[in-house]
């Protein structure tokens, strides 16, 4: 058994109902680290990037990293990799919880789903026993009901990862949910799983993950734990207030997207901010597997309200997506909308972005009265009833309007003739940082391989959160191209290794690569580690090029480049994308059309 890995890939051909186990390609694992990189390598080899993401020729890969299942801080991540139904580009969505490690303990580094099952099925994995079982009794059920039923009929300690009604109905904002509330959220990966007629994967494992150098590994882990425990970002902000701790700051400087990015400050932001959540609705903190941060919020609605429920969340991105971006400042409503998204298994960012797009289209009068007349609610900003109703329409594709919503914000706006009102890139909605006030993020959104995403190159850290002397001016374009390249490569390594991005504020690459080396027994240098990140980024880019993407898709909506923000510290700003993009292509070694040059590819061993 190789170290860090368990060395086995589970391949499930759903069309034929055939299960095969094959050795992990360790050469690729070395070149692409694991998880995101390795999964993309398999996908690049095995599918035609131009295929229909909802067709049987697309494959869905559930991949872990070499640190998944170890006690490396936050070493509990897994990734879902496929061609994204929302974006038509490469998709890799990352999730924590307990499912990823359980898969490794069961003896698999990766699961590849291919083909399409003739009828709904779920996969039951108990160590080396793998069964494709009938799922007709859970088809249509929410993620919570599904997990309860499937655990009862398999093993009460089993972990599940699967889809809700949104994925079944091929809603392009559907996500994969594991352990009831942890989401591999973006790019519509849930629809890809749904298109294969797979409801869930239920896993129970009793095996082991071994590391190469136990002494060294534990030394490095304890050192990182100490750093994390001393870090105010990890403890005060993330542990104390969750990701919601960001709301107050982004709102004060004016980049908390509000009403579909028409404003950067939200009047009711305080009601949905971290401290208020901690003081009112928070029941307990929770951590994913091996997590020394514990940012997850186990919550319950509070006080008299028509929205009653309990569950997990909200994250900062959810507070924006289902809150400020839709003009909703009622905390109970935001929580309830979050719970609904978890139950239906929908990405809270893209679901929120889609509703916000619909609201702006309606308010501007671009949706014909006949279409609006079918709705039983008033589609306007600030109306929580509209949010809840839209979420349900979207998950179940109810009616003609529900069918449109389920296609995501871009296709909705395009249908009504105003694609410029969709706030996102490559058909994927922006995250909760208005790029006009943090221009590096603008470049990051535009160039992200999986469509607009804050986690691919989180330059917010450098432009606003860093100590003053290290800060890049958020209002200029200087140094943003280089910063994005470095951050994108860095994130590619971190994701692929199987740890969470929140650890990496303290566990910087110079601390992470020795941990990877100690776990796997490899001897990478820091340069080789960084190069692996660049290799992963370029491979994703190659996939997209073959899927038909080019420079025209590295773009921002005109609102970002032409309409200045109005409030806060960031007013009068727009994103000057073109100069940053030119510089970025240059630094990346890509041609004017955004494709990697031959010498870049040969430097990375991708030629």
């Amino acid at each position: 058994m190789p170290y860090g890995w368990v060395g086995q890939v589970l391949r499930i051909n759903l069309s034929e109902g055939k299960v095969t186990k094959e050795p992990l390609n360790l050469e690729w694992a070395r070149e692409f680290i694991g998880g995101r990189g390795l999964g993309t390598r398999y996908l690049y080899e095995e599918i035609d990037p131009a295929c229909d993401p909802l067709g049987p020729e697309n494959k869905v890969i559930f991949a872990t990293g070499p640190l998944t299942g170890t006690y490396a801080p936050t070493g509990g991540r897994y990734m879902v990799i496929c061609k994204g139904p929302l974006t038509d580009a490469i998709a890799c969505s990352n999730s924590g919880g307990y499912w990823g490690p359980e898969l490794k303990f069961a003896g698999y580094d990766m699961v590849i789903l291919e083909g399409k099952a003739p009828k709904p099925v779920y996969i039951w994995v108990y160590n080396d026993q793998v069964e494709i079982r009938d799922a007709s009794h859970v088809w249509g059920k929410t993620t919570e009901e599904t997990e309860d039923i499937l655990r009862a009929e398999t093993d009460p300690q089993a972990r599940t990862s699967g889809i809700g009604p949104a994925g079944e109905n091929l809603s392009r904002v559907a996500c994969v949910i594991n352990d009831k509330s942890r989401a591999a959220g973006r790019s519509g990966v849930g629809a890809a799983v749904g298109s294969k007629n797979v409801k869930a994967m239920v896993v129970r494992g009793t095996g082991a993950v071994e590391v190469a150098d136990a002494m060294k590994f534990s030394e490095l882990v304890f050192e990182s734990l100490r750093l994390l425990n001393e870090s105010p970002t990890a403890t005060k902000a993330l542990r104390g207030l969750g990701t919601a701790s960001t709301v107050g700051f982004t709102n004060s400087i004016g980049i908390l997207p509000t009403n579909n990015f028409q404003a950067g400050q939200f009047g009711e932001a305080n009601a949905i901010s971290g401290p208020v959540i901690a003081q009112t609705v928070l029941r307990r903190n929770k951590g994913c597997y091996s997590c020394p941060i514990g940012c997850a919020r186990v919550t319950e609605t509070k006080g008299p309200s028509k929205w009653q429920g309990r569950g997990e969340g909200p994250e900062y991105e959810t507070i924006f997506g289902l809150g400020s971006d839709c003009g909703v400042g009622d905390l109970n409503a935001v929580l309830y909308a979050n719970y609904l998204c978890n139950l239906y298994a929908m990405d809270t960012i893209s679901a929120g972005g889609t509703v916000a797009t619909a609201m702006e289209l309606a308010e501007k009068g671009y949706i014909p009265a006949a279409d609006l007349a079918e709705l039983e609610f008033e589609l306007k900003f600030g109306n929580p009833d509209a949010v809840m109703a839209c979420l349900e329409l979207m998950a179940y594709r109810r009616g003609r309007f529900g069918d449109l919503l389920a296609e995501g914000g871009y296709r909705l706006a395009e249908h009504y003739g105003h694609p410029e009102l969709f706030m996102g890139v490559k058909k994927q909605d922006f995250a909760a940082y208005d790029p006009r006030g943090v221009k590096g993020m603008g470049l990051g959104y535009a160039t992200s391989n999986r469509g607009a995403c804050h986690l691919r190159g989180y330059s917010m850290m450098l432009e606003w959160f860093a100590p003053r002397e290290m800060r890049l001016d958020p209002f200029t374009t200087d140094g943003k191209a280089q910063a994005q390249k470095t951050l994108q490569d860095k994130a590619a390594c971190e994701d692929s290794s199987g740890i969470c991005t929140f650890t990496t504020f303290e566990v910087t690459p110079d601390k992470l690569y020795p941990m990877y080396n100690a776990a796997t027994g490899e001897n990478l240098t820091l340069d080789e580690w960084n190069l692996a990140g660049e290799r992963i980024w370029n491979l994703e880019r190659l996939f997209n090029s073959r899927a038909g993407f080019s420079r025209k898709d590295d773009n921002l909506p005109p609102r970002m480049t032409r309409e200045p923000l109005t409030g806060g510290a960031v007013q009068e700003q727009v994103v000057e994308l073109e100069p940053m993009l030119r510089e970025y292509y240059d630094i990346r070694g890509w041609d004017d059309d955004g494709s990697p040059r031959a010498e870049t590819l040969s430097k990375l061993g991708l030629g």
Binding site: P101, F105, K180, A208, K286, G294
Partner: protein
């Protein structure tokens, strides 16, 4: 005696202690062979870790048919002797907390051995949900109350 005292109200259900325990005892990450367990009923908001309390009136010890389980008279620590254990699992049935573990390959029961005085689970728990503390062995009923606290609080 000194033993591992859980403070479930501080636990976040990250399972780091299980990883650390198995890494120490088995040399690999294998939660199935851990000697400390995290129960995670997230829906109910109930989670925490449990491990051997080295009970003063230890049912595992008095139920062991081969006298494989003994108590160190000096420290009070309860230990399974591998050579005498026949893998009958009587101790697992007897344990009121369900904290007797079982090693499938060796076919012997195992409990928390306090890592010889340097418990790894405590070291790895940066939430302070585990404490290596001086506790009177007959106080385990008090600790039972503490384990039940979060359920009452919700």
């Amino acid at each position: 005696m000194k033993m591992i005292l859980p403070h479930p109200e501080k636990c976040v259900a990250c399972h780091l202690c299980e990883g650390a325990c198995s890494f120490k005892h088995e040399g690999s990450f294998v939660p199935a062979k851990t000697r400390i367990w995290v129960y995670d009923f997230v829906d109910e908001g109930i989670y925490g870790a449990v491990t051997c309390f080295h009970c003063k009136d230890a049912p595992c010890l008095s139920n062991c048919p081969t006298y494989a389980i003994t108590r160190d008279p000096a420290t009070g620590q309860v230990t399974v002797n591998d050579d005498k254990c026949i893998g009958c699992k009587m101790c697992m049935v007897a344990c009121p907390f369900g904290v007797m573990g079982f090693h499938m390959e060796k076919n012997v029961a195992h409990n928390c051995d306090l890592c010889g005085g340097d418990p790894q689970c405590v070291k790895v728990c940066i939430y302070d949900a585990l404490e290596y503390a001086e506790v009177e062995p007959n106080e385990w009923m008090l600790r039972l109350d503490e384990v039940e606290k979060p359920a009452a609080a919700t």
